[in-house]
Amino acid sequence: MDYDVIVVGAGHAGCEAALASARLGLKTLVLTINVDKIALMPCNPSIGGLGKSQLVREIDAIGGQMAKTTDKTLIQIKILNIRKGPAVQALRAQIDKKEYEIEMKRVLENTKNLTLRQGTVDKILVKNGAAVGAGIESGLLFGGKAVIITTGTFLRGRIIIGEKDYPAGRMGEYPAINLTKNLISLGFNIDRFQTATPPRVDRRTVNFSKTEVQYGDKQPLSFSFWDEEKIYESIKCHLTYTNEKTHRIIAENIEKSPIKSGMVDTHGPRHCPSIDRKVINFPEKKRHPVFIEPEGTYTNEMYLQGLTTSMPVIIQQKIINTVEGLENARIIRPGYAVEYDYIIPSQLNFTLESKIIENLYFAGQINGTSGYEEAAAQGFIAGVNAALKIMNEPPLILTRDNSYIGVLIDDLLTKDIMEPYRMYTSRAEYRLVLRSDNADIRLSKFGNDIGLITNEQYRRVVKREKEIDRLISKLKASSLNPDRGNNIILEKMGTKPIDTPLSIYKLLKRPEVSISGVIDFTGDKRNNYDRKILKQAEIKIKYEGYINRQLSEIKKLESLEKYYLTRDLNYFKIVGLTYEAQEKLTKIKPNTLGQASRIAGISPADISILMLNLKGKLKAGI
């Protein structure tokens, strides 16, 4: 049985990769250890957050699935940083985990050209340097033109609780053992990371009266651009805090915590450390927040965000019972740490295809990232590019200046990853332009070009963009004359009156003035503009100065990005480069001159020399 694309693993990365390649018309096979465990959320029951929600909306803008499944199975949604600027606002949704799994499996099963199959892959079939298929443990072989590996934390996974540990990819599920050996034999360098998850307690044993309640937003929202926004009736989350008693117990038993007892010596993510590490590193902090979040509507299991720990269970129980509201909470699932293999991402290039074996792609936690959204973004890019390469179409290369996905991949490929990588808005230097509200305007063209976004959808985006520009030019054209009536309105708005005619465009630049307040001056009614158009116009006007500065910076970067560096370049033969630069460039093998300039230790002079040396050979843009 031969397929075009074989996806190994059906987590968030695997699902996006398979759906993308199948929807592009490629015969796609998904192999997973257990077909009942698709798109699982082993850690927090939420999708989105700062940086992460931008990733999800960008995947959606180009034609991915995560946002749509989220809209279908979310039980609470809200906007974070509502009082801050649009560039740092983000959506965050609480998810019904099991409904999410069922829905994603339904989507996979009903996608044309996609076959879902249970099987533990233990070797990648390679013929003269290119992947040609995958073999599963029972001996069956599947031929394929491209293989995408999205095995999450299953490569030689090891679960650790207190002093006990046993081989498992997730609690109770045996890991993939011999795929790592196979990858090493193919020449990949592998390293190990660890991540941990907090205990779950029984809802009936929690005393909610002592906790602060957190509701979702009441305004119409949606993750996907293509779903229309609606108001979700949302369940409650609860906030409580650890206290001195909690910290004392942790301190007393710190020797038993795996990070101290040596059971775990690999790096964990700094952004979600265990409560043990928080107490060690910040002894002076009197309290740490604990969010009590439901795992789904069908279950009583409550997720304790902030109490991640892999202490022995007996101590986990004691720790939990010191927390306000959890005095007699009972553990259903103990917290645990999982240590797993990942491949060093600098062995990949921009399409996430490996530089060592052709047609072999890697995406998700296997690349050393943490988080469902980061995994889904990589899966989508790998799936799309595997398909495009087979159809020998130009690849979809996203870069730092047009998307968070570009930032994610560029960071993975150039930075030394010291801990499971998580996305933040502060990682994106052009975040004022890469906002989550304009992801469709920025990226749906890519989706339309490769065929995942229909022409009708794309036309809608272009139409909206035109309307925005038309509204802005209208605001520039119409001006406000300084008569008494207008000035009264201005004062009511809390801004100073005017004495000379002022364009509404300039008026809107004042921080305290909002577009809905001034739209009437143009003679149009507010409601014959769709809410999104008003919002986009307001952002473009209010923050025009900053946005233009970033756009000009992006233009400068573009000149370097169009110089592609071929893979077989021997940097040691290039005269004039420092030895350190030659070593680093050979190790990382950057794809473009721009990317080379972002590698730590490469100076502007090295870049000029690279440009000079290769002028003859440089292919300016494929």
């Binding site: 600027g85 740490h288 990682r427 004039g576 300039s597 730590a600």
Partner: protein
Amino acid sequence: MGIESTGTIVAIGTRPGEAAIGIVKLSGDKSIFIADKIFRSKSKKKLSGIDTYNMLYGHIIDNDGHTIDEVVVTLMKKPKSYTREDVVEINCHGGIIATTKVMELCIESGARIADPGEFTKRAFLNGRIDLSQAEAVIDLVRSKTEQSLKIAAKNLQGNVKKEIKRLKEMILNVLVQLEASVDFIEEDLEITPYQKLTKKVREIKAEMEELISDEKKGEIIKNGVKAAIIGKTNVGKSSLLNLLSKKEKAIVTSIPGTTRDAVEEILYVEGIPLILVDTAGIRKTKSAIEKIGVDRSLKHINEAELVLLVLDGNRKFEKMDLEIIKKIERKKTICCINKVDLKQNLEMESIRKYFNEKFIIKISALKGIGIRKLENKIKVLIMDNGDLNLEEKIIINSRHKNILKEVSSLLDSAEKAMKEKMSEEFPSYDLKTAYGLLGEILGETTRDDILDKIFSQFCIGK
């Protein structure tokens, strides 16, 4: 040293041999426009009006009308020019100081200081030089870069570098607060309130202004080689100073902002200003005032690039002389044995122990004996020694000055945004760019400082 290869660039190039004539070269699509802005030709013609390979004689005028220099301007229109772009060469006569002023005027009208070897790089990229010449170009780029790096580092005297590092750290602390309040909104972090941060940015701005103005006082822009004349009291230091300065017909040009040190004279050696500083005599002293004088001499010594040690040939070698020699061990020194016209009691062997024969000169400040030999020796030291290469030094100084100005305008924009209660990511954008520019001056390539600092400073833990 940005890496973009766009925009119009300007640089000083000295024509080999005649150090006195400085050339300011402009290349790029806006070079004619910029030149026309600052150049008034005698014949009232505009550069844009004349054909390629023609010259115009006239003057360079700054924005408030002062004549800076009398120049001859040559125009080479693209593609027939060195870089295959529009090239304008302004031949100045007023020595290095005037040339620098002309270059700064070009920058103010929109040019960008060229990277080391950028002219040659553009020539190559635009295909005027073929591949075979690539190696030569590369060595040029590499050596120029290394040289300018070395000079940049050395040029930034200790305190200026420390100052920039401190300001950079202060900006980082504000950035950490802004970014933490944006990316970690769900954590229970104690973020410093917005007004306090605004005040902090205002403080940084004030200190930045001060740093720039220092610079105007000559701290950085002192375009010249500093030489200190030292020795015990009344060994003839002042008379040597007057002798050296009186001989040369100095062209006095007003250099805005250079305050003169009371005992300082400018001497032009091959067009390069040599700032001679006469220091108070060094001797053991109890009196506080004189102590200050001695300390200031020591300060001059360590700032000077060249030291003229004056010894009185007529008096014995004393312990005090040894002490002074110890202080100037690492410095480039010429040992002048003065009053050679009197009876020589100074034991030469002890002198030869510390100085190479080539650098011991017998002079008589009173009678003017040996002065020619001394001047040649000074010229040798200034001209040939690499790290005294003045042209690079000047370019580095103006590049730093421009960066510091840009940083201060960014601080302005950040402060304004914060006063208007704009959301954190806007001032943070200004401060991040400023932070990067300061890193550039210090020669660092930026890393993930902000995130690293946040994790060490705040307890993050979702």
